[in-house]
Symmetry: C2
Subunit: 420 residues, 2 copies
């Protein structure tokens, strides 16, 4: 009897994770002779634990196709990490119980570093607990911090959003600088890795120079040197844009974002890194500033997605099913770059054991010596990832994003499971 696929979305969502879901479901549908149905976990792995599965076969081909241009997680995601098997037998036994009840033979997990770890654990269920299942991890993270794969689906579109936004805001500041704003600060995501912040520097091209200072979490923040660099740029160009990563820390290890700010009620950590940096500039130089915090807007911005990114997100979803059909376990489809110009890439197989729990930071060779910019090598790496546009269809001025029916699979178990 053909086995069903369990597919789930995990961790922070992206503007293209649904393109991976689209790749999984469409490829499975094309292989109906070998694969049963695709059951999606409602809210990620929680859907498996609570037997809350979504029958994706109830949605039409056109609805599934529309996932390709719909941001966020169509089945719901979650932040829920499975512990190790020894200490959390109850959870893993529950997974097996649910998978058995619904004839699931493939576990396709769409997420970042933490999720790769969960996926690796599930891949060991066969050896450790005698339940035959193939676990394949589908890479996704805007932070671009997974190892082995050249880049992570989700990152290219955020990078494009940040590059475009930095360019646009810089043109704005440039035209105001004579009598008003001289410094614009944009705070971006990326946790401990500066990949997203680096994308801000793409706004500065040979053809059209734009003064950009990047603050990377990988570089020790030195307020004095930073303020001197701001002054230098403002004196040369009349203005400057600063792209600061949420992960930048003071010398003592505190995040800039938690600079001890309190509001009238004494609540702390109101602000982000951007207002802290902007205020620093104002205090030192008196320059008028503006600041923005892109937050979820950046990772949800499907309207300005990168075409490369959408294609790769689809491709890793498709490859996961192909690998499942080929009997693979404990692997992840990884992107391998074969050429920079023209940009060419292919999908390769990565061992999940080498992916889980490893964070890929910006290499030193990607950051300029002064710590405020990107090298030519970094630019060559980043540029292809933001290439190409892939607009969603619009209706009445708004993108037509799909919402699936998300019809639940009838429960087969009579017991409830309490989440930890």
């Amino acid at each position: 009897m053909r086995k069903n696929i369990f597919y789930a979305q995990s961790g922070g969502v992206t503007s293209v994770i649904n393109a991976s879901a689209c790749g999984v479901i469409e490829t499975a549908r094309k292989n109906r002779d070998k694969i049963g149905k695709v059951f999606a976990g409602r809210n990620g792995i929680i859907g498996a634990l609570t037997e809350d599965l979504i029958d994706t076969s109830k949605d039409s081909a056109s609805a599934i196709a529309a996932l390709r241009h719909t941001p966020s997680g169509a089945f719901g995601s979650c932040r829920y990490k499975l512990g190790n098997i020894e200490d959390n037998k109850v959870e893993f036994e529950r997974l097996i119980e649910v998978f058995k009840a619904h004839n699931i033979g493939y576990f396709l997990y769409n997420g970042g570093g933490d999720s790769a770890d969960t996926c690796l654990k599930v891949s060991q269920l066969s050896a450790s607990m005698g339940f035959p299942i193939q676990a394949i991890h589908i890479p996704k993270t805007v932070d671009n911090d997974l190892p082995i794969t050249d880049n992570c689906p989700g990152f290219g579109s955020v990078a494009k959003y940040i590059a475009v936004s930095t360019l646009e805001a810089s043109l704005d500041v440039a035209s105001m600088a004579r009598t008003s704003t001289k410094v614009f600060v944009l705070e971006v995501m990326g946790r401990h890795a500066g990949w997203i912040a680096a994308a801000g520097a793409l706004a500065d091209t040979e053809e059209q120079p734009v003064p950009v200072i990047v603050l990377f979490p990988e570089v020790k923040f030195d307020p004095k040197r930073f303020l001197a660099e701001v002054k230098k740029k403002v004196e040369k160009f009349g203005y400057v844009s600063v792209v600061v990563s949420e992960g930048v820390r003071h010398e003592d290890g505190r995040f800039l974002a938690e600079a001890g700010s309190t509001d009238a009620f004494g609540h702390s950590q109101l602000g982000g890194a951007a207002p802290v940096v902007a205020n620093m500039v104002k205090q030192e130089h008196g320059y008028k500033y503006h600041w923005a915090v892109a937050d979820y807007l950046q990772r949800a911005a499907r309207h300005v997605a990168s075409k490369s990114d959408v294609e790769q997100a689809y491709a890793v979803g498709k490859a996961a099913v192909t690998m499942a059909l080929a009997g693979k376990n404990a692997v992840m489809p990884a992107i391998k770059r074969t050429s920079n110009s023209p940009y060419r890439w292919k999908i390769e197989e990565a061992k999940l054991s080498k992916v889980a729990n490893v964070e890929k930071m910006m290499p030193k060779s990607f950051i300029t010596k002064d710590g405020f910019g990107i090298t030519k090598k970094c630019r060559q790496y980043l540029e292809p990832l933001i290439k190409g546009e892939d607009y969603p269809p619009y209706k009445n001025g708004l993108p037509r994003y799909v919402r699936l029916k998300n019809i639940a699979v009838t429960k087969k178990l009579n017991n409830e499971f309490t989440l930890k």
Copy 2:
């Protein structure tokens, strides 16, 4: 001898003010038999006062055409308000001196409310100081607060950006809400008028409901009622998006954004309204939140401009030249809506005296009784304004925005002018 046009951009720039510049220059070029050159003020009116004029005839037809898809102010803008004629004779005499020296007969001023006032004063120079000049105001403001005109060029594109971003971020939160973020807060511009905030509510459609709470500057902010509404929405939908205008105030008149926050150094006004609102929700309900401040990103976002807006911005620039040729003075091309569905509009002539120094707030009939949303009437007003896409061309993943040569007109005066 044919008179030249002086054209200047004033106040905060928008993603389509250059489309108005394009309309002015292209129309003037088509009327070379009647009009001389278009001289642009470098950094707005300051360019006139300092005799720093840009000769737009030095830029090619294709460069001028590219203004249509380039955000920000191509000639530089400024925040500089001329005083009244009686008390600031020196400034007005200087304007006349510069205009005489460069044979300027038309003053085309592209800005918002303050600029309309400046333009009105210049229109009176003929009567008050005997210098023959026709002054025509070209409307522009993201705040959408000019009277008479149905809407202001620049607003439609910000509205589209905010509607699209609210929709995208809401889908993101919806997929995270089970175990993580339940409340997303987006801070938007608009000063004293809630027009931009209202656009956030467009994300909520009959076809695809999205729970959105809008906080308007026109509505007294009541924390208790707001927090109750947040709870109601979260309990019904699992999540909620809050769109808060920068202009929202506490009962005592202070802006939310200046809620007395201080950082470790005792500097005040670090945060914006968004973190204040988000923190309030966290304190009362314990919901996890995320917040974003769009700031300049919203008004510079030419990549997601509204087609209606681009067309209208061009049309008012074009109409200003047509009105100049027809001998008009102290007028503004205004947009008159003639039909909602299909959306139709035309350009009419408004008296500048009725435009200057009047702010158009959201009418009461546009805000729902509870103060947190928009009425059907408001939706009918807003929807056509965000209609249609008008993408810029891209190269290597980035929009190809033009930078003009901006070659200075040779100075004819030997005296320097000191700005106040």
